[in-house]
Protein backbone atom coordinates (compact mmCIF):
# COMPACT_ATOMS: atom_id res chain seq x y z
CA UNK A 1 0.00 0.00 0.00
CA UNK A 2 1.01 3.60 -0.42
CA UNK A 3 2.06 5.35 2.69
CA UNK A 4 3.94 8.63 2.69
CA UNK A 5 7.09 8.47 4.77
CA UNK A 6 7.28 12.25 5.07
CA UNK A 7 4.50 14.59 4.24
CA UNK A 8 5.26 17.89 2.62
CA UNK A 9 2.17 19.88 3.31
CA UNK A 10 1.25 23.44 2.76
CA UNK A 11 -1.04 24.70 5.51
CA UNK A 12 -4.25 26.67 5.51
CA UNK A 13 -4.65 30.20 6.83
CA UNK A 14 -7.55 32.62 6.85
CA UNK A 15 -7.98 33.91 3.32
CA UNK A 16 -7.12 37.63 3.32
CA UNK A 17 -5.13 40.25 1.44
CA UNK A 18 -2.54 40.25 4.18
CA UNK A 19 0.75 38.52 4.92
CA UNK A 20 1.42 35.69 7.37
CA UNK A 21 4.78 34.21 8.46
CA UNK A 22 6.08 31.29 6.39
CA UNK A 23 6.84 28.49 8.83
CA UNK A 24 8.84 25.51 7.61
CA UNK A 25 10.35 22.36 9.06
CA UNK A 26 12.45 20.76 6.34
CA UNK A 27 14.24 17.50 6.92
CA UNK A 28 16.79 16.30 4.39
CA UNK A 29 19.17 13.78 5.95
CA UNK A 30 22.81 14.09 4.86
CA UNK A 31 21.68 16.19 1.92
CA UNK A 32 25.11 17.65 1.19
CA UNK A 33 26.56 14.32 0.04
CA UNK A 34 23.65 12.87 -1.86
CA UNK A 35 24.24 11.91 -5.49
CA UNK A 36 20.78 11.20 -6.84
CA UNK A 37 17.93 13.40 -5.66
CA UNK A 38 14.37 12.41 -6.52
CA UNK A 39 11.64 14.97 -5.85
CA UNK A 40 7.89 14.86 -6.05
CA UNK A 41 6.75 18.45 -6.43
CA UNK A 42 3.02 17.91 -6.11
CA UNK A 43 2.25 18.84 -2.50
CA UNK A 44 -0.02 16.94 -0.19
CA UNK A 45 -3.38 18.35 0.89
CA UNK A 46 -2.95 21.44 3.09
CA UNK A 47 -2.90 20.79 6.83
CA UNK A 48 -4.91 23.01 9.18
CA UNK A 49 -1.84 24.17 11.14
CA UNK A 50 1.75 25.24 10.42
CA UNK A 51 4.31 22.44 10.84
CA UNK A 52 6.23 24.30 13.59
CA UNK A 53 6.57 27.51 15.58
CA UNK A 54 7.77 30.65 13.81
CA UNK A 55 11.56 30.50 13.57
CA UNK A 56 12.38 34.03 14.76
CA UNK A 57 10.49 36.70 16.74
CA UNK A 58 7.99 38.86 14.84
CA UNK A 59 10.28 41.90 15.11
CA UNK A 60 13.07 40.20 13.11
CA UNK A 61 13.22 39.93 9.32
CA UNK A 62 11.61 36.74 8.12
CA UNK A 63 9.69 35.20 5.19
CA UNK A 64 6.01 36.14 4.92
CA UNK A 65 3.50 35.12 2.29
CA UNK A 66 0.33 36.77 1.03
CA UNK A 67 -2.71 34.86 2.30
CA UNK A 68 -4.94 35.67 -0.68
CA UNK A 69 -5.23 31.95 -1.61
CA UNK A 70 -5.89 30.80 1.94
CA UNK A 71 -2.87 28.46 1.77
CA UNK A 72 0.78 29.00 2.66
CA UNK A 73 3.23 26.71 0.89
CA UNK A 74 6.51 26.79 2.85
CA UNK A 75 8.46 24.58 0.45
CA UNK A 76 10.06 27.39 -1.64
CA UNK A 77 11.62 28.75 1.56
CA UNK A 78 13.09 25.32 2.30
CA UNK A 79 14.22 24.90 -1.30
CA UNK A 80 16.11 28.18 -1.26
CA UNK A 81 17.81 27.09 1.94
CA UNK A 82 19.21 24.00 0.19
CA UNK A 83 19.74 25.53 -3.26
CA UNK A 84 23.50 26.12 -2.99
CA UNK A 85 24.14 22.56 -1.84
CA UNK A 86 21.91 21.09 -4.53
CA UNK A 87 23.63 23.24 -7.17
CA UNK A 88 26.94 21.83 -5.95
CA UNK A 89 25.64 18.25 -6.21
CA UNK A 90 24.42 18.96 -9.75
CA UNK A 91 27.65 20.64 -10.82
CA UNK A 92 29.59 17.60 -9.62
CA UNK A 93 27.72 14.99 -11.61
CA UNK A 94 24.66 14.52 -9.40
CA UNK A 95 21.36 13.49 -10.89
CA UNK A 96 17.96 15.07 -10.22
CA UNK A 97 14.78 13.20 -11.08
CA UNK A 98 11.70 15.37 -10.69
CA UNK A 99 8.04 14.36 -10.78
CA UNK A 100 6.78 17.73 -11.89
CA UNK A 101 4.14 20.20 -10.87
CA UNK A 102 3.34 23.63 -12.33
CA UNK A 103 5.40 26.65 -11.24
CA UNK A 104 3.47 28.58 -8.57
CA UNK A 105 3.51 32.37 -8.50
CA UNK A 106 3.59 32.89 -4.77
CA UNK A 107 3.85 36.35 -3.24
CA UNK A 108 6.73 36.10 -0.74
CA UNK A 109 8.30 39.05 1.04
CA UNK A 110 11.03 39.57 3.58
CA UNK A 111 9.36 41.54 6.35
CA UNK A 112 9.02 42.17 10.07
CA UNK A 113 6.19 43.16 12.37
CA UNK A 114 6.51 45.28 15.47
CA UNK A 115 4.15 47.11 17.77
CA UNK A 116 5.78 50.44 16.96
CA UNK A 117 6.23 50.22 13.15
CA UNK A 118 3.49 47.70 12.38
CA UNK A 119 4.09 45.37 9.38
CA UNK A 120 6.94 46.57 7.15
CA UNK A 121 8.21 44.89 3.97
CA UNK A 122 11.92 45.11 3.26
CA UNK A 123 11.95 43.32 -0.12
CA UNK A 124 9.99 41.08 -2.47
CA UNK A 125 11.28 37.48 -2.72
CA UNK A 126 11.15 35.91 -6.17
CA UNK A 127 11.25 32.21 -5.35
CA UNK A 128 8.85 29.41 -6.10
CA UNK A 129 8.32 25.67 -5.89
CA UNK A 130 11.11 25.04 -8.44
CA UNK A 131 13.80 27.03 -6.58
CA UNK A 132 15.81 24.06 -5.35
CA UNK A 133 18.16 24.22 -8.38
CA UNK A 134 19.23 27.53 -9.88
CA UNK A 135 19.57 26.13 -13.41
CA UNK A 136 15.84 25.41 -13.49
CA UNK A 137 15.19 29.15 -13.79
CA UNK A 138 16.16 28.58 -17.44
CA UNK A 139 12.96 26.63 -18.03
CA UNK A 140 9.52 28.04 -18.71
CA UNK A 141 7.20 25.84 -16.66
CA UNK A 142 3.53 26.45 -17.41
CA UNK A 143 0.75 24.95 -15.37
CA UNK A 144 -1.38 22.62 -17.49
CA UNK A 145 -3.29 19.42 -16.89
CA UNK A 146 -4.04 16.35 -18.95
CA UNK A 147 -3.65 12.63 -19.39
CA UNK A 148 -2.90 12.34 -23.11
CA UNK A 149 0.86 11.83 -23.11
CA UNK A 150 2.80 10.68 -26.16
CA UNK A 151 6.36 9.45 -25.81
CA UNK A 152 8.88 10.93 -28.24
CA UNK A 153 9.53 8.85 -31.35
CA UNK A 154 13.24 8.35 -30.82
CA UNK A 155 14.19 4.75 -30.07
CA UNK A 156 16.08 5.45 -26.87
CA UNK A 157 16.10 3.16 -23.81
CA UNK A 158 14.76 5.90 -21.52
CA UNK A 159 11.87 6.61 -23.89
CA UNK A 160 11.10 2.90 -24.15
CA UNK A 161 11.11 2.71 -20.34
CA UNK A 162 8.90 5.79 -20.01
CA UNK A 163 6.42 4.30 -22.50
CA UNK A 164 6.07 1.27 -20.23
CA UNK A 165 4.98 3.50 -17.33
CA UNK A 166 2.69 6.00 -19.11
CA UNK A 167 -0.47 4.02 -18.40
CA UNK A 168 -2.50 6.11 -15.96
CA UNK A 169 0.06 8.93 -16.06
CA UNK A 170 -1.04 12.57 -15.98
CA UNK A 171 0.81 15.85 -16.28
CA UNK A 172 0.56 19.10 -14.35
CA UNK A 173 2.75 21.37 -16.48
CA UNK A 174 4.53 21.86 -19.80
CA UNK A 175 8.17 22.84 -20.36
CA UNK A 176 10.03 25.09 -22.73
CA UNK A 177 13.78 25.57 -22.54
CA UNK A 178 15.25 29.08 -22.59
CA UNK A 179 18.14 29.89 -24.90
CA UNK A 180 20.73 29.28 -22.15
CA UNK A 181 20.00 25.53 -21.97
CA UNK A 182 18.47 25.00 -25.40
CA UNK A 183 21.31 22.71 -26.55
CA UNK A 184 21.13 20.61 -23.40
CA UNK A 185 17.34 20.15 -23.46
CA UNK A 186 15.61 17.16 -25.03
CA UNK A 187 11.93 16.22 -24.99
CA UNK A 188 10.85 12.79 -23.74
CA UNK A 189 7.09 13.12 -24.11
CA UNK A 190 4.49 15.63 -25.27
CA UNK A 191 0.84 16.43 -24.68
CA UNK A 192 -1.73 16.29 -27.47
CA UNK A 193 -0.70 19.78 -28.59
CA UNK A 194 2.97 18.82 -28.98
CA UNK A 195 4.12 20.66 -25.88
CA UNK A 196 6.78 18.97 -23.77
CA UNK A 197 5.46 17.33 -20.60
CA UNK A 198 8.63 15.34 -19.93
CA UNK A 199 12.24 15.99 -20.83
CA UNK A 200 15.81 16.01 -19.62
CA UNK A 201 18.73 18.38 -19.34
CA UNK A 202 22.09 16.86 -20.29
CA UNK A 203 25.32 17.89 -18.55
CA UNK A 204 26.74 21.17 -19.86
CA UNK A 205 29.49 20.67 -22.46
CA UNK A 206 33.01 20.21 -21.13
CA UNK A 207 31.76 20.05 -17.56
CA UNK A 208 31.45 17.35 -14.96
CA UNK A 209 27.87 18.41 -14.37
CA UNK A 210 24.98 16.04 -13.87
CA UNK A 211 21.62 15.21 -15.38
CA UNK A 212 18.13 16.52 -14.69
CA UNK A 213 15.09 14.45 -15.64
CA UNK A 214 11.64 16.04 -15.60
CA UNK A 215 8.82 13.51 -15.55
CA UNK A 216 5.03 13.71 -15.46
CA UNK A 217 2.83 12.17 -12.73
CA UNK A 218 3.69 8.49 -13.07
CA UNK A 219 1.34 6.06 -11.32
CA UNK A 220 4.01 3.47 -10.51
CA UNK A 221 6.88 5.72 -9.44
CA UNK A 222 8.59 2.90 -7.52
CA UNK A 223 8.63 0.65 -10.58
CA UNK A 224 9.85 3.38 -12.89
CA UNK A 225 12.64 4.46 -10.53
CA UNK A 226 13.81 0.90 -9.91
CA UNK A 227 14.05 0.22 -13.64
CA UNK A 228 15.62 3.63 -14.25
CA UNK A 229 18.33 3.04 -11.64
CA UNK A 230 18.99 -0.47 -12.87
CA UNK A 231 18.88 -0.10 -16.64
CA UNK A 232 19.29 3.52 -17.66
CA UNK A 233 21.26 5.64 -15.24
CA UNK A 234 24.37 3.42 -14.92
CA UNK A 235 25.07 4.04 -18.60
CA UNK A 236 24.46 7.80 -18.39
CA UNK A 237 26.25 8.44 -15.10
CA UNK A 238 28.62 5.45 -14.64
CA UNK A 239 30.64 7.27 -12.00
CA UNK A 240 27.67 7.04 -9.64
CA UNK A 241 27.40 3.28 -10.02
CA UNK A 242 30.77 1.75 -9.20
CA UNK A 243 29.16 -1.65 -8.63
CA UNK A 244 27.53 -1.61 -12.03
CA UNK A 245 30.70 -0.50 -13.78
CA UNK A 246 32.67 -3.12 -11.85
CA UNK A 247 30.53 -5.81 -13.36
CA UNK A 248 29.95 -4.22 -16.67
CA UNK A 249 33.41 -3.52 -18.00
CA UNK A 250 33.81 -7.16 -18.92
CA UNK A 251 30.98 -6.59 -21.39
CA UNK A 252 32.68 -3.74 -23.20
CA UNK A 253 33.38 -4.54 -26.84
CA UNK A 254 37.10 -4.93 -26.06
CA UNK A 255 36.49 -7.92 -23.78
CA UNK A 256 33.18 -9.33 -24.94
CA UNK A 257 32.85 -12.77 -26.48
CA UNK A 258 32.86 -12.62 -30.29
CA UNK A 259 29.73 -14.77 -30.40
CA UNK A 260 27.94 -12.30 -28.07
CA UNK A 261 29.03 -9.37 -30.20
CA UNK A 262 27.74 -11.16 -33.29
CA UNK A 263 24.36 -11.73 -31.65
CA UNK A 264 24.25 -8.10 -30.50
CA UNK A 265 24.92 -7.05 -34.09
CA UNK A 266 22.09 -9.32 -35.23
CA UNK A 267 19.73 -7.71 -32.69
CA UNK A 268 20.77 -4.29 -33.87
CA UNK A 269 20.26 -5.28 -37.53
CA UNK A 270 16.81 -6.70 -36.75
CA UNK A 271 15.85 -3.54 -34.85
CA UNK A 272 17.08 -1.35 -37.74
CA UNK A 273 15.22 -3.46 -40.31
CA UNK A 274 12.04 -3.45 -38.19
CA UNK A 275 12.25 0.31 -37.70
CA UNK A 276 12.73 0.77 -41.45
CA UNK A 277 9.79 -1.51 -42.23
CA UNK A 278 7.58 0.30 -39.71
CA UNK A 279 8.45 3.63 -41.34
CA UNK A 280 7.64 2.19 -44.77
CA UNK A 281 4.32 0.82 -43.55
CA UNK A 282 3.41 4.11 -41.86
CA UNK A 283 4.05 5.91 -45.14
CA UNK A 284 2.00 3.32 -47.03
CA UNK A 285 -0.88 3.75 -44.57
CA UNK A 286 -0.74 7.51 -45.02
CA UNK A 287 -0.75 7.15 -48.82
CA UNK A 288 -3.62 4.64 -48.68
CA UNK A 289 -5.66 6.95 -46.47
CA UNK A 290 -5.04 9.91 -48.74
CA UNK A 291 -6.00 7.93 -51.84
CA UNK A 292 -9.28 6.81 -50.23
CA UNK A 293 -10.04 9.98 -48.31
CA UNK A 294 -13.45 10.18 -49.96
CA UNK A 295 -14.56 7.08 -48.03
CA UNK A 296 -13.85 8.80 -44.70
CA UNK A 297 -15.48 11.99 -46.02
CA UNK A 298 -18.69 10.08 -46.75
CA UNK A 299 -19.01 9.58 -43.00
CA UNK A 300 -17.88 12.91 -41.60
CA UNK A 301 -18.28 15.71 -44.14
CA UNK A 302 -20.99 18.08 -45.28
CA UNK A 303 -21.20 20.74 -48.01
CA UNK A 304 -18.83 20.71 -50.98
CA UNK A 305 -16.49 18.11 -49.46
CA UNK A 306 -19.35 15.64 -49.08
CA UNK A 307 -20.49 16.27 -52.67
CA UNK A 308 -16.96 15.50 -53.92
CA UNK A 309 -16.87 12.32 -51.81
CA UNK A 310 -20.25 11.11 -53.12
CA UNK A 311 -19.22 11.88 -56.71
CA UNK A 312 -16.05 9.80 -56.27
CA UNK A 313 -18.02 6.95 -54.72
CA UNK A 314 -20.53 6.96 -57.60
CA UNK A 315 -17.69 7.03 -60.12
CA UNK A 316 -16.06 4.06 -58.42
CA UNK A 317 -19.37 2.18 -58.61
CA UNK A 318 -19.36 2.61 -62.38
CA UNK A 319 -21.33 5.77 -63.15
CA UNK A 320 -19.65 7.48 -66.08
CA UNK A 321 -21.76 10.52 -66.83
CA UNK A 322 -21.97 12.59 -63.65
CA UNK A 323 -22.42 16.34 -63.90
CA UNK A 324 -21.18 18.57 -61.10
CA UNK A 325 -24.06 21.06 -61.25
CA UNK A 326 -22.24 23.64 -59.13
CA UNK A 327 -19.35 23.71 -61.61
CA UNK A 328 -21.77 23.72 -64.55
CA UNK A 329 -23.73 26.68 -63.18
CA UNK A 330 -20.60 28.63 -62.38
CA UNK A 331 -19.33 28.03 -65.90
CA UNK A 332 -22.62 29.37 -67.25
CA UNK A 333 -22.44 32.38 -64.91
CA UNK A 334 -25.56 31.33 -63.00
CA UNK A 335 -26.29 31.12 -59.29
CA UNK A 336 -25.83 27.50 -58.17
CA UNK A 337 -27.07 27.71 -54.59
CA UNK A 338 -30.68 26.84 -55.42
CA UNK A 339 -29.95 23.78 -57.55
CA UNK A 340 -29.13 20.12 -57.08
CA UNK A 341 -25.56 19.00 -56.41
CA UNK A 342 -25.11 16.30 -59.06
CA UNK A 343 -26.94 14.95 -62.11
CA UNK A 344 -26.40 11.46 -63.47
CA UNK A 345 -27.00 10.96 -67.19
CA UNK A 346 -25.78 7.36 -67.60
CA UNK A 347 -29.21 6.05 -68.63
CA UNK A 348 -32.80 7.21 -68.72
CA UNK A 349 -34.15 8.45 -66.36
CA UNK A 350 -31.76 11.25 -65.42
CA UNK A 351 -31.01 11.26 -61.68
CA UNK A 352 -31.09 14.63 -59.91
CA UNK A 353 -29.04 14.19 -56.74
CA UNK A 354 -29.13 16.34 -53.62
CA UNK A 355 -26.43 15.68 -51.00
CA UNK A 356 -26.42 16.92 -47.43
CA UNK A 357 -24.62 16.35 -44.14
CA UNK A 358 -26.72 17.01 -41.04
CA UNK A 359 -26.01 16.72 -37.33
CA UNK A 360 -29.37 15.12 -36.61
CA UNK A 361 -31.88 13.41 -38.87
CA UNK A 362 -32.97 15.12 -42.08
CA UNK A 363 -35.97 17.46 -41.91
CA UNK A 364 -38.64 17.16 -44.61
CA UNK A 365 -37.26 19.96 -46.85
CA UNK A 366 -33.76 18.45 -46.65
CA UNK A 367 -34.97 14.97 -47.56
CA UNK A 368 -37.38 16.03 -50.29
CA UNK A 369 -35.44 18.86 -51.91
CA UNK A 370 -34.07 16.56 -54.62
CA UNK A 371 -37.60 16.13 -55.95
CA UNK A 372 -38.09 19.90 -56.11
CA UNK A 373 -34.90 20.19 -58.13
CA UNK A 374 -36.03 17.31 -60.32
CA UNK A 375 -39.24 19.26 -61.17
CA UNK A 376 -37.14 22.30 -62.09
CA UNK A 377 -35.03 20.16 -64.40
CA UNK A 378 -38.16 18.63 -65.94
CA UNK A 379 -39.45 22.14 -66.70
CA UNK A 380 -36.10 23.34 -68.04
CA UNK A 381 -35.46 20.36 -70.27
CA UNK A 382 -39.05 19.57 -71.10
CA UNK A 383 -38.52 15.87 -70.45
CA UNK A 384 -40.35 13.53 -68.10
CA UNK A 385 -37.69 10.88 -67.47
CA UNK A 386 -36.16 12.56 -64.40
CA UNK A 387 -35.97 11.22 -60.86
CA UNK A 388 -34.77 12.65 -57.59
CA UNK A 389 -32.24 11.05 -55.27
CA UNK A 390 -31.37 12.36 -51.81
CA UNK A 391 -28.13 11.21 -50.21
CA UNK A 392 -27.83 12.23 -46.56
CA UNK A 393 -24.94 11.99 -44.09
CA UNK A 394 -27.24 11.88 -41.08
CA UNK A 395 -26.05 12.30 -37.46
CA UNK A 396 -22.70 12.97 -39.05
CA UNK A 397 -20.94 13.88 -35.80
CA UNK A 398 -21.50 10.35 -34.44
CA UNK A 399 -19.59 7.21 -35.40
CA UNK A 400 -21.87 5.46 -37.94
CA UNK A 401 -22.54 2.38 -35.81
CA UNK A 402 -23.83 4.71 -33.05
CA UNK A 403 -26.31 6.39 -35.42
CA UNK A 404 -29.96 5.48 -35.90
CA UNK A 405 -29.53 3.50 -39.10
CA UNK A 406 -32.94 1.84 -38.83
CA UNK A 407 -35.05 4.98 -39.17
CA UNK A 408 -32.86 7.79 -40.46
CA UNK A 409 -35.90 9.07 -42.42
CA UNK A 410 -39.31 9.72 -40.85
CA UNK A 411 -42.18 7.49 -42.02
CA UNK A 412 -43.93 10.50 -43.62
CA UNK A 413 -40.80 11.23 -45.64
CA UNK A 414 -40.63 7.60 -46.78
CA UNK A 415 -44.33 7.67 -47.75
CA UNK A 416 -43.77 10.86 -49.76
CA UNK A 417 -40.74 9.31 -51.43
CA UNK A 418 -42.85 6.37 -52.64
CA UNK A 419 -45.45 8.71 -54.14
CA UNK A 420 -42.81 10.96 -55.73
CA UNK A 421 -40.60 8.06 -56.91
CA UNK A 422 -37.77 9.67 -54.94
CA UNK A 423 -34.75 7.66 -53.76
CA UNK A 424 -33.44 8.16 -50.20
CA UNK A 425 -30.03 6.91 -49.18
CA UNK A 426 -27.65 7.49 -46.28
CA UNK A 427 -23.94 7.99 -46.89
CA UNK A 428 -23.38 5.18 -44.39
CA UNK A 429 -25.21 2.81 -46.74
CA UNK A 430 -23.29 4.25 -49.69
CA UNK A 431 -20.05 3.64 -47.76
CA UNK A 432 -21.08 0.01 -47.10
CA UNK A 433 -22.01 -0.45 -50.74
CA UNK A 434 -18.61 0.81 -51.89
CA UNK A 435 -16.86 -1.49 -49.40
CA UNK A 436 -18.82 -4.52 -50.62
CA UNK A 437 -18.22 -3.52 -54.26
CA UNK A 438 -14.45 -3.42 -53.72
CA UNK A 439 -14.23 -6.42 -51.41
CA UNK A 440 -16.37 -8.84 -53.42
CA UNK A 441 -15.69 -7.53 -56.92
CA UNK A 442 -19.34 -6.73 -57.56
CA UNK A 443 -19.99 -5.32 -61.02
CA UNK A 444 -21.54 -1.93 -61.84
CA UNK A 445 -24.58 -3.74 -63.26
CA UNK A 446 -25.18 -5.26 -59.82
CA UNK A 447 -25.17 -1.94 -57.93
CA UNK A 448 -26.06 0.92 -60.31
CA UNK A 449 -29.77 -0.03 -60.65
CA UNK A 450 -30.17 0.45 -56.88
CA UNK A 451 -29.88 4.22 -57.30
CA UNK A 452 -32.95 4.35 -59.52
CA UNK A 453 -35.22 2.88 -56.85
CA UNK A 454 -37.82 4.78 -54.84
CA UNK A 455 -38.06 5.08 -51.04
CA UNK A 456 -35.12 3.97 -48.89
CA UNK A 457 -32.20 2.54 -50.84
CA UNK A 458 -30.28 -0.18 -48.99
CA UNK A 459 -26.77 -1.34 -49.89
CA UNK A 460 -27.90 -4.78 -51.08
CA UNK A 461 -26.66 -5.52 -54.61
CA UNK A 462 -29.11 -6.78 -57.20
CA UNK A 463 -27.63 -10.28 -57.33
CA UNK A 464 -28.34 -10.84 -53.61
CA UNK A 465 -31.67 -12.55 -52.89
CA UNK A 466 -32.92 -12.38 -49.32
CA UNK A 467 -33.23 -15.84 -47.80
CA UNK A 468 -33.78 -15.38 -44.07
CA UNK A 469 -32.10 -14.69 -40.75
CA UNK A 470 -29.58 -16.47 -38.57
CA UNK A 471 -31.51 -18.44 -35.96
CA UNK A 472 -28.88 -20.45 -34.02
CA UNK A 473 -25.09 -20.56 -33.81
CA UNK A 474 -22.68 -23.41 -33.13
CA UNK A 475 -18.90 -23.57 -33.15
CA UNK A 476 -18.62 -24.50 -36.84
CA UNK A 477 -22.14 -23.94 -38.10
CA UNK A 478 -25.22 -21.77 -37.91
CA UNK A 479 -28.83 -22.17 -38.87
CA UNK A 480 -30.94 -19.96 -41.10
CA UNK A 481 -34.70 -19.64 -40.86
CA UNK A 482 -35.67 -19.65 -44.52
CA UNK A 483 -38.23 -16.92 -45.20
CA UNK A 484 -37.88 -16.47 -48.95
CA UNK A 485 -36.78 -18.57 -51.94
CA UNK A 486 -34.77 -21.74 -51.73
CA UNK A 487 -31.25 -22.70 -50.77
CA UNK A 488 -29.28 -25.48 -52.46
CA UNK A 489 -26.01 -27.25 -51.82
CA UNK A 490 -23.46 -25.57 -54.09
CA UNK A 491 -25.07 -22.11 -53.78
CA UNK A 492 -23.09 -19.18 -52.44
CA UNK A 493 -24.57 -17.08 -49.65
CA UNK A 494 -23.75 -13.72 -48.13
CA UNK A 495 -24.21 -12.80 -44.47
CA UNK A 496 -24.88 -9.17 -43.64
CA UNK A 497 -22.65 -7.94 -40.80
CA UNK A 498 -23.14 -4.45 -39.29
CA UNK A 499 -20.56 -3.02 -41.72
CA UNK A 500 -19.56 -5.57 -44.35
CA UNK A 501 -20.99 -8.58 -46.14
CA UNK A 502 -19.27 -11.95 -45.81
CA UNK A 503 -19.69 -14.40 -48.66
CA UNK A 504 -19.24 -18.17 -48.40
CA UNK A 505 -20.18 -21.35 -50.26
CA UNK A 506 -22.95 -23.68 -49.11
CA UNK A 507 -20.95 -26.91 -48.86
CA UNK A 508 -23.73 -28.88 -47.15
CA UNK A 509 -27.17 -28.41 -45.64
CA UNK A 510 -28.49 -30.11 -42.51
CA UNK A 511 -32.18 -30.39 -41.74
CA UNK A 512 -33.24 -32.18 -38.54
CA UNK A 513 -29.88 -34.02 -38.24
CA UNK A 514 -29.92 -35.20 -41.82
CA UNK A 515 -28.06 -34.04 -44.92
CA UNK A 516 -30.36 -32.53 -47.54
CA UNK A 517 -29.74 -31.08 -50.99
CA UNK A 518 -32.00 -28.04 -50.66
CA UNK A 519 -34.10 -26.05 -48.22
CA UNK A 520 -37.37 -24.21 -48.71
CA UNK A 521 -39.41 -21.54 -46.93
CA UNK A 522 -40.19 -22.61 -43.37
CA UNK A 523 -37.08 -24.79 -42.93
CA UNK A 524 -34.50 -23.97 -40.27
CA UNK A 525 -31.47 -25.21 -42.11
CA UNK A 526 -27.96 -25.78 -40.72
CA UNK A 527 -24.97 -24.49 -42.70
CA UNK A 528 -21.28 -25.23 -42.08
CA UNK A 529 -19.11 -22.19 -41.40
CA UNK A 530 -15.35 -22.13 -41.01
CA UNK A 531 -14.48 -21.44 -37.38
CA UNK A 532 -11.84 -18.91 -38.44
CA UNK A 533 -14.40 -16.78 -40.29
CA UNK A 534 -15.93 -13.71 -38.63
CA UNK A 535 -18.46 -14.76 -36.00
CA UNK A 536 -22.07 -14.49 -37.09
CA UNK A 537 -24.75 -13.40 -34.64
CA UNK A 538 -28.38 -14.35 -34.25
CA UNK A 539 -30.58 -12.08 -36.34
CA UNK A 540 -28.07 -11.36 -39.12
CA UNK A 541 -29.67 -11.36 -42.57
CA UNK A 542 -28.62 -14.01 -45.09
CA UNK A 543 -28.79 -13.69 -48.87
CA UNK A 544 -28.42 -16.20 -51.69
CA UNK A 545 -25.98 -14.96 -54.31
CA UNK A 546 -27.62 -15.35 -57.68
CA UNK A 547 -25.28 -16.52 -60.41
CA UNK A 548 -24.67 -14.14 -63.33
Amino acid sequence: MLQREHLSSPYTVRKASAYQPVVMKASLPNYTEQEIVVLDLVPDDPTPDPPAEKLVPMEELDWWENCNTGVIDPRPRAMVTFQNEFDRIYQNGGVFIIFSDGRDNQDFVLARKSEYYGFSIQEQLYYDNWSFLSTLSNLSITRDHGEEITAAREDWPLIRLLKDYLDGATFCCTFEAHRQIEKQWAVLATNKYGEAVAGYITPPEKSKGGWIFLLPRIHDKAGLLAAFLKNILPDLAPALFPHAEGQRWVHRNDYELPSVLEKAREISAIQDAAAKKVTELEKAIEAERNANKFLYDLLRETGANLVVAVQKALTLLGFTSIVDVDAEMKKAGKHAALREDLRIHDISPVLVVDIKGVAGKPADPEALQAQKHAFIYIQEQNRADVRGLTIINHQRLLPPLDRDNVTPFRKEILDNAVQLQLGLMTTWDLFRLVRGFCRHSWTPDQVKPLFYGAERIFPIPRHYEYVGIVKQIWKEAFSVQIKNGTLNVGDRISIEFPVDFDEQPVASLRLKDADVKNAIVGNEIGIFRNEASPKVKIGFSVYRIKSA
Binding site: A26, E35, V37, D40, D44, F132, P242
Partner: protein, 56 residues
Protein backbone atom coordinates in the same frame (compact mmCIF):
# COMPACT_ATOMS: atom_id res chain seq x y z
CA UNK B 1 -2.99 20.80 -7.41
CA UNK B 2 -2.61 18.61 -4.37
CA UNK B 3 -2.01 14.90 -3.91
CA UNK B 4 -4.85 12.84 -2.55
CA UNK B 5 -4.55 12.00 1.13
CA UNK B 6 -4.49 8.32 1.98
CA UNK B 7 -7.73 6.93 3.41
CA UNK B 8 -7.37 6.07 7.09
CA UNK B 9 -8.47 2.45 6.68
CA UNK B 10 -5.57 1.77 4.34
CA UNK B 11 -3.11 2.65 7.09
CA UNK B 12 -4.18 -0.37 9.11
CA UNK B 13 -3.22 -2.67 6.27
CA UNK B 14 0.47 -2.01 6.83
CA UNK B 15 2.36 -5.26 6.91
CA UNK B 16 4.32 -6.06 10.06
CA UNK B 17 7.85 -4.68 10.02
CA UNK B 18 10.39 -7.16 8.78
CA UNK B 19 14.13 -6.90 9.29
CA UNK B 20 15.75 -3.76 7.89
CA UNK B 21 16.81 -4.17 4.26
CA UNK B 22 20.49 -4.67 3.65
CA UNK B 23 22.22 -1.92 1.71
CA UNK B 24 23.86 -3.75 -1.15
CA UNK B 25 25.19 -0.68 -2.93
CA UNK B 26 26.60 2.15 -0.78
CA UNK B 27 26.73 4.29 -3.90
CA UNK B 28 24.94 6.08 -5.34
CA UNK B 29 23.49 7.86 -2.34
CA UNK B 30 19.86 8.49 -3.14
CA UNK B 31 17.67 11.12 -1.47
CA UNK B 32 13.92 10.92 -1.97
CA UNK B 33 12.10 14.14 -1.21
CA UNK B 34 8.37 14.04 -0.62
CA UNK B 35 7.85 10.67 -2.31
CA UNK B 36 5.53 7.96 -1.09
CA UNK B 37 7.02 5.45 1.36
CA UNK B 38 6.58 2.57 -1.08
CA UNK B 39 9.18 4.14 -3.38
CA UNK B 40 11.79 4.06 -0.60
CA UNK B 41 10.89 0.49 0.28
CA UNK B 42 11.11 -0.66 -3.33
CA UNK B 43 14.56 0.88 -3.84
CA UNK B 44 15.79 -0.47 -0.50
CA UNK B 45 14.61 -3.92 -1.52
CA UNK B 46 16.82 -3.57 -4.59
CA UNK B 47 19.76 -2.85 -2.28
CA UNK B 48 20.15 0.89 -2.81
CA UNK B 49 21.32 3.36 -0.20
CA UNK B 50 18.20 5.48 0.17
CA UNK B 51 17.27 8.33 2.50
CA UNK B 52 13.91 10.07 2.62
CA UNK B 53 13.28 13.70 3.43
CA UNK B 54 10.84 16.52 3.04
CA UNK B 55 10.76 20.23 2.22
CA UNK B 56 8.01 20.73 4.78
Amino acid sequence: MFKKSQPANEQSETRPETSAPVVKYQRPKILLIDLEADVKKALEMDGYNVAAGTFE
